[in-house]
Symmetry: C2
Subunit: 430 residues, 2 copies
Amino acid sequence: MEKALNELSAAQAARRIERQEITCEALANACLERIAARDDEVRAWAFIHQKQALTQARELDRTPRRSRLHGVPFGIKDVIDTESLRTEYNSPIYRDHQPRADAACVALLRQAGCLILGKTVTTEFATNHPSPTRNPRDPAHTPGGSSSGSAAAVADAMVPLALGTQTGGSVIRPAAYCGTFAIKPSFGSINRAGLKFVAESLDTIGIFSRDPEDLALALEVLSGRAAPEFAPASGTPRIGLCRTPRWQLADAGTQANLEDAARRLARAGAQVREFDLPPGSEALFDRHNVVIGFEMARALAWEHINFPDQISASLKPRLDEGWKVTRADYDAVRETARQCRRALAEEMRELDFLLTPSAPSEAPRSHASTGDPVFNRAWTLFGVPCVTVPYGKGAHGLPLGVQLVGPMDGDMPLIAWADWAARALAITAA
Amino acid sequence: MEKALNELSAAQAARRIERQEITCEALANACLERIAARDDEVRAWAFIHQKQALTQARELDRTPRRSRLHGVPFGIKDVIDTESLRTEYNSPIYRDHQPRADAACVALLRQAGCLILGKTVTTEFATNHPSPTRNPRDPAHTPGGSSSGSAAAVADAMVPLALGTQTGGSVIRPAAYCGTFAIKPSFGSINRAGLKFVAESLDTIGIFSRDPEDLALALEVLSGRAAPEFAPASGTPRIGLCRTPRWQLADAGTQANLEDAARRLARAGAQVREFDLPPGSEALFDRHNVVIGFEMARALAWEHINFPDQISASLKPRLDEGWKVTRADYDAVRETARQCRRALAEEMRELDFLLTPSAPSEAPRSHASTGDPVFNRAWTLFGVPCVTVPYGKGAHGLPLGVQLVGPMDGDMPLIAWADWAARALAITAA
């Protein structure tokens, strides 16, 4: 049976638009219909201007093809400025806020002929306070955060691609919880002009999709790195199986799932060896919070000083804590992180990627928290690229993910290996 | 004879406010009067709301002292968002633009009881296109850029402290041209939320003052680092005299001036030795442009795509060039910079600071250019702190500066050494 248009991958949809088999408008309509049918339950979208989206789509139908993603709709996490759609960071402090300009990443997408379909729900300022978004696989479960809406919208086939951001684990974790692919690229890959900062030394714009090829095509537009060919990979990878110093925080199903994935990848030809993080890394799993706290207190100083009563009860004490972090402590963590980053680069030299959990469990059955970023934070601090590949199920039947971590600036080879791994794990793209 | 209030250093003024010898309002009035008398010629200010400034000042007079800079007026470069003052980046694209929030650095200053006096003139988006600002020492000469207004306003005693930004040489060079002190802090020292980006991996918020102690007090508020005691320094520094691979671009007067400064500091007790930059650094003096070009094209993508005719004739071709830089080339320069940064840290271990020119000459007699950042760019790329100390005169009688470069995160010791050096060079604080 033929897939509905909203279920196509971005690459599939763009190829059909190129061949004039479908229009951008029809694709946008299919996405909007899916949203109309489902978003009362999922609540993935903060703001959509339907008429404007369809006007854009018709314009793109009349415009010469601008890129391999021409006509493809995107969801944009609502911490990224858009000229044509209000941008509220899920904070009452920014009710009806209308930025003057598009963020750089949005301008790059428009330049490539992509359609900005709407803004996806973020947690408050991309921090931990849960958003109203539900996990589309089971609305009793969290979708994760902070890129809750982007993960849920892509997983639920409301849009083929969406942008999120990660400061701790805000891209990889919700993608794993909702059962999609996602990349948190190398730090510095996607320009951040027009992004509302939480912790500028960590904040990284990432991408959600239902197919690894789509990650590569979107990252090409956004970073200037050339997407690899997605022919069946001829080689096999050298993999470091990295349980991390927090392995005991992964539940039994997640532990078994990762080890199962490693065995299957080995059977598919990969060389798999155990990998321990460099000495000193362990402390960073917790000390990452020192960096976030110090920077977040400052980045949100205006809001904290002027509108303390409009900051959530979970964020406010974190800001107060952030002010207590000393500069010396902050500088020391950053120096340790720099040292570990160099040591990690050295130790990964003979490996193509590390294999590690995307999250400690399936999406928790709760809306009181967005889950635990313990398996994401250190990689964000190291600045290295991470891709999550949906693989396996948890005890409640929700998706699990395995995380591939590559060397700095090795984003495109990492996506190609994620594609290889997904095939080897016999996952068919959704 | 007693100094006029506007001529006081920030530390002097704040001490007199603390002792209730003067009011914040009187200090603000003195600054506003100086501006009224001089700014038709100097053109340092983009926007001042006089009534609002005086209202703020009276409020601060009624408020308990919040910091060692309570009541001190600041000029804010007009690439930094202010809630109460429009922010135009010196671009017609942003005519009458009113940001929703204060930048983090502005919020921190207000929290410390500082007075936001007004916005200082920037070049267009803090790039190279000259601003209307004149050098207060001689209006036929450029004040330098891109922080033209902040340098000129502080040098002309219109305000004791001002914020600027440096991506190439936009803090240190204009300070040297106008004859003030300034610091470009270590990368990561001052939170950049609310700063209009040019090249986010380089953009650094810096501070202008007429006294090194003021740099320390302002940096304490802005970075959380504790300011050192400004007692007469008991020790003497170990100095690396760094002519750089671009020594031949410094004019004869600048070369002689730097060597004279080194001799005088040696006579004052410093150990001075020749210092060569690590192998590979040389290329970075030019390749810095690769990083700026790549990032700037993306950071200003919205403006470039939507308002090409409102971008200056000097910026537009630079953006076009930026789009031609390949990601591979950009990644390669950044990797070389990381390697050189590590090598530099290693080689500076036995030194307190490097001594190097702040600019290749005194301020050029021209308004067609803001001068050459050749002696600043590599340090910005390395992320290390730089302080310029006014010392000597050029052939036209305009000020020269010597630049002190310290190790990463060693900002406060570097300011203390700048104070030592200024005293040793027998400069009396203005």
